[in-house]
Symmetry: C2
């Protein structure tokens, strides 16, 4: 069993050679069967989740996990409903693969097509959130990829049970091979997975910054993930009081531990309502730290770093220096300043006059979210199904040779059709 | 000087904050000035190249480099002309960045735009080919990126001289900061560059498989490169004699050391002209190795592995197993088999009835080529300017907060506009 993970990876890679061309009707049929099978076995899933929760209560008492981990682990009626709805929403989306992106005549008898394709075998490592397993499995199926999945150890019973029902549904869908989805359990397995660069094309870690960092440092496989979410709001001279307060409160308190929550306020020195703003935020139990030692702290709590800046240039410089390239917003009535901010902030999402919390795949209308990427290759910002795709080139000839073109006998047309 | 490379990287990263928004007229002006400055100083460049060639002759005599390295190093009138023409061709291309990819109403007062952007700071390591330095510098400038460049040590004098004239041209172009392009020289510098993941967003190695492999193993930065070019031609039962021969000869002999040259022939067992084909290829001085021990050899010479297969399924299986995902071609008159081949070969370029040698950025009409990628993320196949770009999201609001949508007070429209 020493090479177990390599065997799993090899078999999954073989399965990909069929999933990559599955008809959209087959993929949607599989998703429908998964949704129905999970609904039918809801009680068993909740039972398994209760087992995990009992273990987690002990861990919680001994401070080995925190309340937010416990809450994420806990499945309830609402989460279950959202989980199922997520699958049906995904069914409604168009096939993200095997679409012609463009086609071009290289010559009148030589047609080049750029076709969207799935990537291949994807390794996903996610925290102890049972809904995450369902969401990721559905995304992988819809996009025609294969995956090796590792969930947080605290959710092991829930994951095993959910995975069993997903697997049964796939086995009952004509066209689906075995080995498309694979659940693994130990940290040692993850280590081996990170080494399987011969078979695995992409690693997606969903979890803490520490997890993402560990993974980036321990694999040659491309990693899609975000480093951290140091998001800023710059309050320009011309911003008003009411909207500024409303947006900051939303961006900080609507879900303080989200990566798109604001961490730092930059206030223009001539902003006229700074004192009232501070008072209002304090009333909302937001702690303000003026001139902190470190401007790169992701509080994940109702705390904000605050800095006065002399002008928009200083704000832009500060954000590009201390930010994490995630999401930054300007509040301003000055169109020129808004334009400058949008152009010169080098972040995946740059906003004007709205809350940083909009930075999210569902809110962007992607239907489902793989995660948020602060990478600057492959996929950036909120990543939907598109992040699980790449493309290939298909060239249809009529016995053409290159020598006719290098010799000057023929010339390329390069005409989009 | 210990942190010299880190300093260079930091300064280049700062320069990127201006190059990312340069107007296309400024970038084209810089390219024009570079072309003119190189033309004006042609003699000095040839003098520097002669210095390198003298050193290289000694290396060649002592078998420390081979003839093909020497030939690539040698600049001649034709190469110089092509080099300059390449710059003018690039000027003609549209700006690859700061274009709206799509825009969408999240709500009537909340507009999301997806905008193409340059990536940032790119590290390029290339072989001793002086034309490579010019080509890469031009691509980097046109796409609004910044770069650290390391050329093969044999071309050090030519590179220094060319780089000097590029730099003068940039310094004479209003809008261009210093530090946009940076030339480094030692292997030790490369090692430090590979460690500078805080500043560098992408590494592009252009050279041998060994170089690409070394780089992938020694950096956390994403790498865009191809592993190897094990390209196949599958000769189906229905292929004729004349075109089959013509295409194989083109794919093998037109430039045998190119990565898109064919390495393995798979012949359907019922192909009627196998004996004549073998005879003709041998007459063209192509050595055929039937049933070789290793089907993953990139000969880079006029040698071909040959295997008889029972059917197209066996051919597809062979290619997906032994190929490198670069370029594979089917020669057939059977439309169903062609369709099957195009769908089930998991390579970056899949061809029907034409030479594998068409797999190339210029031939695909990309104007210029960064390289050919067998990666399955970011960019795949021949990579043009697009491979040096990514995107960001700009969201324009009117004081919108997320809580209005999660509370059900408002709903998203998600309408493309």
């Amino acid at each position: 069993m020493k090479n177990n993970i390599l065997e799993i990876a090899k078999n999954a890679k073989n399965a990909f050679l069929t999933t990559m061309n599955l008809d959209i009707s087959v993929k949607n049929e599989a998703l429908k069967k998964i949704a129905k099978n999970l609904e039918k076995n809801k009680n068993k899933i909740f039972e398994a989740n209760n087992l995990d929760l009992k273990e987690a209560e002990i861990l919680l008492k001994n401070n080995k996990i925190n309340t937010s981990t416990y809450n994420r682990l806990k499945l309830d009626e609402n989460k279950f409903k959202d989980m199922i709805k997520g699958i049906y929403d995904l069914i409604e989306l168009d096939d993200p693969v095997n679409q012609i992106i463009w086609q071009k005549e290289l010559d009148s008898d030589l047609i080049l097509k750029k076709i969207s394709t799935p990537i291949g075998l994807i390794g996903v490592i996610f925290e102890a959130r049972p809904d995450c397993l369902v969401q990721i499995s559905s995304l992988v199926i819809k996009s025609g990829n294969c995956a090796i999945l590792k969930g947080g150890s605290e959710s092991i019973n829930t994951n095993k049970t959910i995975f069993e029902f997903i697997e049964t549904a796939l086995n009952n869908t004509e066209g689906f091979e075995k080995n498309v989805l694979n659940l693994i359990f130990s940290r040692d397995d993850v280590k081996k997975m990170l080494e399987a660069d011969e078979y695995i094309n992409l690693i997606i870690p969903r979890g803490s910054n520490a997890l993402v960092k560990y993974i980036k440092e321990n694999t040659k496989i491309p990693v899609l993930g975000h480093a951290s979410g140091i998001c800023h709001i710059f309050v320009d001279e011309s911003a008003d009081f009411e909207n500024t307060t409303k947006i900051i409160i939303d961006a900080k308190t609507q879900y303080p531990s989200a990566c798109n929550a604001v961490e730092t306020l930059l206030i223009h020195k001539n902003y006229p309502y700074f004192d009232e703003l501070k008072k209002t935020l304090k009333n909302k139990e937001i702690k303000l730290i003026e001139n902190p030692e470190n401007y790169s702290t992701e509080y994940g709590d109702k705390i904000l770093s605050v800095k006065i800046v002399n002008n928009i240039e200083e704000a832009i410089k500060h954000i590009n220096k201390y930010g994490s390239g995630h999401t930054d917003s300007i509040l301003s009535k000055d169109d020129k300043n808004i334009e400058k901010f949008m152009k010169y902030i080098d972040s995946s999402s740059v906003f004007a006059n709205c809350s940083t919390r909009f930075s999210d795949g569902f809110r962007y209308g992607f239907g489902a979210e793989v995660g948020i990427s602060t990478n600057k290759t492959h996929a950036r910002g909120p990543v939907g199904l598109e992040g699980l795709t790449i493309y290939k080139y298909e060239l249809f000839g009529k016995n053409n040779i290159v020598n006719d073109y290098t010799s000057g006998k023929k010339t390329f047309k390069h005409k989009f059709i």
